[in-house]
Point group: C2
DNA sequence: AGGTGTTCACATAGTTCA
DNA sequence: TGAACTATGTGAACACCT
């Protein structure tokens, strides 16, 4: 087929319009720009053969997109229908009643309320005064929403807008990509590095090496393959019929977990190379602390609240366990709160959890028990711990920059102390329970060791 | 200015083309679609006065966008340049080394790794086997990244990809807008409602009324204007020079907070209408619990970790306070962990915090102190508490649906109990400290009352 | 000039299809 | 499987108004 000449005329010349509109011209499409409905419907119904536009070549992608949009037709129909439906039915700004554009700062709201909250969210509500005489009771409606700052901002908060949905400067920088490598641009990095350099013989100065990456890869892989069922499978609940069954049930489930932890530890060369006595001591005095690290990791949703509620049955079961053992004890509060605190610090970071487990394992004297025997080769243990601590440090530096890592480390150290305190009192608590209920024969030997019974 | 008639003719009719092209027609633009270069250059150089298109009215936004895009021209150049620049330099997929498209699931990665993780993140790593003989040590590089599932998924985790960044079904539904009003579409709502209806005389069945909204508005406004400085101002730290100064300093700062709380309570009509004795009793026995609710709200960044670290100085100061008072006590752990737990439950929701404060205020017997005297008008207190509980319930239902609200309520009730336990032992702790240090004369009367000293 | 509200640009979720 | 798409919700910028 011979190529036809195709042209577009865009005109406001009345003579020409009249001339063309009056007689039927073949192979010609007419769009009356003054009749928006016609424009819309013609484009949407694809009654014009727009596809010939696709024959155009060498147009850059931007223009391609324009034509593409014009060419897609029935999809836009759907979309338009849906959008119209939505907008006319339920997309109402909860603050001013205007047409909402979506969720802004966690509240269904319009663009102006979004902008307003973004501007004023950090202002002091106390310093703003209600402009009208109706004391802080101005109606915020579409027409006069910008009359009174005080009442508008207040309504934003009242409808649930959250200042914490406003990105911090740090978060903006990361998004913008100026800081895709957060470890490069940290301005105060030298300062902090030096602090550590002075104390710690420069072990914290490098970044992650290729070798470190392989170690992380391996560790994390081992950790996940050993414990994944623990995280994703349905948690088995403790039998709560009475104290005896509860204790035995607890002992059995923790015996399983302990075996998994030991299996994991034995994959670490530095641990496996120690002599048997030292391995035994490290397990005996540190395993209880490891429980809480591993149990606080779970791989559910990011949303804090929903994740905790998904775990609710498990938590409730745990609470009742302590309650069955000793209703007057506040052991439960201590344990569960430590776990919640750790969940925040560990922040669902699998690498962090798997490394921290090893670091805790190699802790000497962590149990703060005066009876803890000396290690034969405490130097190796110290070296191993330093090595993994360094890897963890570098991993976090690489991931989130030095400033944040510094703070996170400080807090993790605090938590390790809490973890230890908690383990000690838990050990006493459970020992008392076991003695009182005379279930010692039914506790597995491994758990007896961990509880320092034998 | 009178509106001109504007039209577009698209034609392949040679007669018409010839006719128009041969004579100069005013107010008309001609585009020859067979000469792509002409089309491109005309569009890009904007030599056609497209702007008259802006005169079009009532076109829907989609079409506006098409025209708008046609009007923009040189900006795309810039953008393309910048994107190329970035992508060629520093955007390397941390998993396979391919060109990254940005952060996916918290790791700088390419589109294929993004899709891969999205597909397999919830698979069991243990069940996947490493395909090659190199045991779980396959190199994941651009060319052969899809060889071994096991090692690829593992590397995703190792580089820090997070399953919790994958939206849950619930979150997707909310975004898509099918559930802009979460209270409408809840399938199991009747079931839960009935549970509550049976127990609670149907008070939980309605949705938020206009009147409720005004109450929320007022309450939340009062709360914010009274406590905002507490949240946003620089927290004043406790003087830690020695135990005596620490206790006095603690007493003074909490005296201020107590006065603010009382000020807030007196804005509640139901409280103000009680007789003086009842008001006194409620304050005396409940104020200590209220401290922890109010202090656990802060309005910093959403990011969990960064927000906690911003608060770190305050937390550390608090820890040292307990340490100065009694280094052997684990009071600190209890208090701080309760606060961290509450921060999660209250989820930075200002309305929730302000209502919960009132609900706790109206609690009778919350202090679980056998000596707590009976109220004169306990019915009014009960009614007030029911009223605000109902409003809170409806607010949460409206915001997040019934299922989640049910779970959140259950957990909040648990926390209220913990809060009470904590308050009681805190009262004992601080009383012991005050007696031991003989600082009772320097403790303000209000704090003495709250501590049940007087 | 500073406040307001619309629109643009962008990041990163999910989704689709060859 | 992975490139290319859509969708949502951020911040930023602009044109307008007082
Ligand atoms: Zn609005
Ligand atoms: Zn990749």
């Amino acid at each position: 087929m011979a190529k036809q000449t195709k042209m577009i005329f865009i005109t406001s010349n009345e003579d020409l319009v009249h001339q063309i509109a009056s007689k039927q011209v073949e192979d010609t499409h007419i769009i009356d720009l003054d009749d928006p409905k016609q424009v819309t419907s013609m484009i949407n119904n694809n009654s014009i053969n727009w596809t010939f536009l696709a024959g155009l070549s060498e147009l850059d992608s931007k223009n391609d997109q324009i034509y593409k949009r014009a060419l897609d037709s029935h999809q836009d129909d759907q979309e338009k229908q849906r959008k119209l439906l939505r907008k006319s039915i339920d997309l109402i700004c909860k603050i001013c009643g205007d047409r909402a554009i979506g969720f802004n700062y966690d509240v269904l709201s319009c663009s102006s309320c979004k902008a307003f909250f973004h501007r004023y969210a950090h202002q002091d509500l106390k310093k703003l005064k209600c402009s009208s005489r109706n004391q802080n009771q101005c109606k915020i409606v579409n027409g006069e929403r910008s009359k009174c700052h005080r009442c508008r901002l207040n309504r934003c908060f009242a409808m649930g807008m959250r200042t914490d949905f406003i990105l911090s400067q740090e978060e903006i920088q990361r998004r913008k990509g100026f800081e895709k490598n957060p470890n490069i641009s940290s301005t105060n990095s030298t300062c902090i590095s030096q602090t550590f350099n002075n104390n710690d013989k420069n072990i914290f100065s490098e970044s992650l090496t290729a070798e470190d990456l392989i170690v992380i890869d391996t560790i994390q892989s081992d950790f996940l393959s050993i414990f994944q069922n623990q995280f994703e499978g349905s948690k088995e609940l403790i039998d709560l019929t009475d104290r005896v069954s509860a204790l035995i049930s607890w002992s059995e489930s923790h015996n399983k977990l302990a075996l998994l932890i030991i299996k994991y530890c034995r994959l670490i060369n530095e641990f496996e190379n120690l002599n048997a006595d030292d391995r035994f001591i490290l397990i005996k005095y540190n395993l209880l602390s490891l429980f809480s690290v591993i149990l606080c990791y779970n791989c559910k949703s990011r949303n804090q609240s929903s994740s905790s509620y998904q775990e609710y049955d498990g938590v409730e079961n745990k609470r009742q366990f302590y309650s069955v053992c000793d209703p007057s004890s506040d052991m439960y509060t201590k344990v569960i709160n430590l776990m919640i605190s750790s969940m925040e610090t560990l922040n669902q970071d699998l690498v962090l959890v798997s490394l921290l487990t090893i670091i805790l394992l190699f802790s000497k004297g962590l149990s703060m028990n005066e009876n803890e025997p000396l290690l034969n080769d405490s130097l190796s243990v110290y070296r191993a711990q330093s090595y993994y601590t360094k890897i963890l440090w570098n991993y976090l530096i690489d991931k989130q920059g030095e400033m944040k890592t510094y703070k996170q480390f400080t807090r993790m150290l605090t938590e390790i102390f809490q973890r230890q305190t908690c383990a000690t009192i838990f050990r006493e608590f459970i020992n008392i329970q076991i003695k009182a209920s005379q279930t010692i024969d039914q506790i597995t030997p491994l758990i007896q060791t961990v509880l320092h019974i034998s």
